[in-house]
């Protein structure tokens, strides 16, 4: 590991979090959503637009660029922009790069945001829009295969076949996360579900049912990042960025190492842990990217919380429930709170470490892991380790 990455540990902090409501039809532009979430996050931090020196987002051509948001909020000459092309896999890399810019002194305070009309305007599942732009698409789309639920269902089936993972494991995960959402006023889905409800939900692409899939959501979420020094004088208890990693992994289609049951997270996790000087046993709460139920199960393995192939039984044991050994997706996750393409996971991790998560608060939470899409559709992922300041 590069020595400078160790120096980066705990140098920056998340000091503000802002949301718009999560809905099925926001009725406004993603630019409007972005501005609302950013102003809310600044207000939470006790800062104003005049303090913002940088703006960062990720998007797939569907949302407001920093170069539009800056002028829309009257920001004079921000010194740092990041407009990262990409989906959920880069969601945490955006915050990681913002933190590097802050640590390097390029910008003292940066706001990271994601604004998305993923139900009313731009549906990630492909309905009503063109095919994704990637050379791999030509080998898949002619067979009627291109939507993320199809792709993840394919990987989930491989895991079921290789390790004996069961539909009931996926179901237990959906049930557990819904129970968390019941305690979250922000969540879109707050009616409890049972394993029978899960098993009775309609097929999307076998082995996935409707309740394996995250919620298509309109909404925005923003995070304010600044130096750890400045964070100490601000309104909210700081949450330190102890580790911030992003990187590679293999294509699941080529490269001679294709294993559809392991993700890029398996390669990234050791670097992330070393950077923060922490390990799986130190983590009190985890927000694991849950575009689909299966993605949580494979990440529990690849981030080292259980052995390879044991993710399903680990969930079924109750370990990921609020009162379990490792509470996971305490807000309900993308499955039940809403889907803001990764950023609401980081926001929930911050909330847990501040101790302001209300009825779903994990007592004594001091270290949190938050992760991006683990690198299935494109071979890249990213993650953050956060610590109570």
């Amino acid at each position: 590991m590069a020595k400078r990455l160790l120096e980066f540990r705990d140098r920056t902090a998340v000091v503000g979090v802002g949301y718009t409501p999560f809905t099925k039809d926001s009725g406004v532009s993603t630019l409007t959503l972005a501005c609302r979430a950013i102003l809310a996050a600044l207000d939470d931090a006790g800062l104003g637009p005049g303090d913002v020196e940088g703006l960062a987002t990720h998007r797939v051509g569907d949302s407001a660029a920093p170069s539009l948001v800056g002028p829309a909020l009257g920001l004079a000459d921000p010194s740092w922009y990041l407009d990262q092309f990409g989906g959920g896999s880069v969601s945490h890399a955006v915050v990681a790069q913002a933190a590097l810019a802050v640590a390097a002194g390029v910008a003292e305070t940066v706001v990271c945001y994601r604004a998305i009309n993923a139900r009313s305007e731009f549906r990630m599942g492909g309905t009503g829009r063109g095919l994704p732009v990637s050379p791999e698409v030509q080998y898949q789309a002619p067979y009627g295969y291109f939507a993320p639920p199809q792709q993840y269902a394919m990987y989930a089936r491989a895991h079921m076949q290789k390790y004996g993972t069961k539909a009931e494991h996926f179901g237990q995960l959906a049930v557990t996360q819904r129970a968390n959402a019941v305690k979250n006023p922000r969540a879109l889905m707050r009616t409890p579900i049972t394993l029978d409800d899960y098993l009775a939900s309609r097929w999307i692409a076998e082995p996935f049912r409707l309740l394996d899939c995250c919620l298509e959501t309109d909404g925005a979420c923003a995070l304010v990042i600044t130096t750890a020094d400045r964070a100490r004088s601000l309104r909210r208890a700081p949450v330190l960025i102890s580790g911030a990693a992003w990187g590679g992994g293999d294509s699941h289609l080529s490269g001679g190492r294709a294993d559809p049951t392991t993700t890029a997270a398996a390669a990234l996790a050791p670097r992330l842990y070393a950077q923060a000087g922490l390990g799986p046993a130190d983590i009190d709460v985890a927000q694991l990217y849950d575009c689909f139920t299966y993605s949580v199960i494979v990440q529990l393995e690849d981030y080292g919380f259980c052995a390879k192939g044991e993710g399903g039984p680990y969930v079924a044991s109750g370990a990921t429930a609020l009162d379990g050994a490792l509470p996971v997706n305490t807000h309900g996750g993308f499955l039940s709170e809403g889907y803001v393409h990764g950023v609401n996971h980081i926001a929930e991790a911050v909330s847990q470490l501040r101790g302001d998560a209300g009825d779903r608060q994990v007592a004594g939470a001091e270290v949190a892991l938050s992760t991006a899409q683990p690198g299935y559709i494109l071979p890249a992922t990213s993650a953050l380790l956060l610590r109570k300041g």
Partner: protein
């Protein structure tokens, strides 16, 4: 009574790129080709300019048998694109000719695939100099 499965919706034609144009042309002629590195002889798919093992650019096409084993499959039941009303199966095949390489295709079997099942490619002509590669079980060929 086994369920009848439909075919994937037609109409989404591949968009070859400069690396893959010749591969699609060979497939249209019912040849399944992979690239073989001139330097280290590693086979690779999908088509790319560089060998990922020795990072050299010299290679040639190698026609191989489209054969492999079932790594995974889905039964699609939601019309993600227009014209897809029936359930259809998409299979992920581990290629025998290229170690560590997976390929997607349509399913040409009467029953659902099985994990690890031996399969062979079936060319499906789509008109206008285009063929796709679907997969079917090979076991009924094997005479014990």
């Amino acid at each position: 009574m086994p369920e009848r499965y439909g075919r994937p919706p037609q109409g989404v034609r591949p968009t070859p790129d400069r690396d893959s144009k010749d591969w699609w042309a060979r497939l249209a002629g019912h040849e399944f080709a992979v690239q073989r590195c001139d330097t280290c002889h590693t086979a690779r798919f999908p088509p790319r300019a560089f060998c990922p093992v020795c990072r050299t650019e010299d290679w040639r096409w190698a026609a191989v048998e489209p054969a492999g084993t079932v790594e995974s499959w889905i039964v699609n039941r939601r019309p993600f694109m227009p014209g897809a009303s029936e359930p259809y199966i998409v299979v992920l095949v581990r290629l025998a000719a290229v170690p560590g390489c997976l390929i997607h295709g349509g399913w040409d079997g009467d029953r659902e695939p099985e994990y690890g099942q031996a399969v062979e490619g079936v060319y499906a002509d789509m008109g206008d100099d285009l063929a796709l590669l679907n997969w079917r079980p090979t076991e009924w060929h094997a005479s014990p």
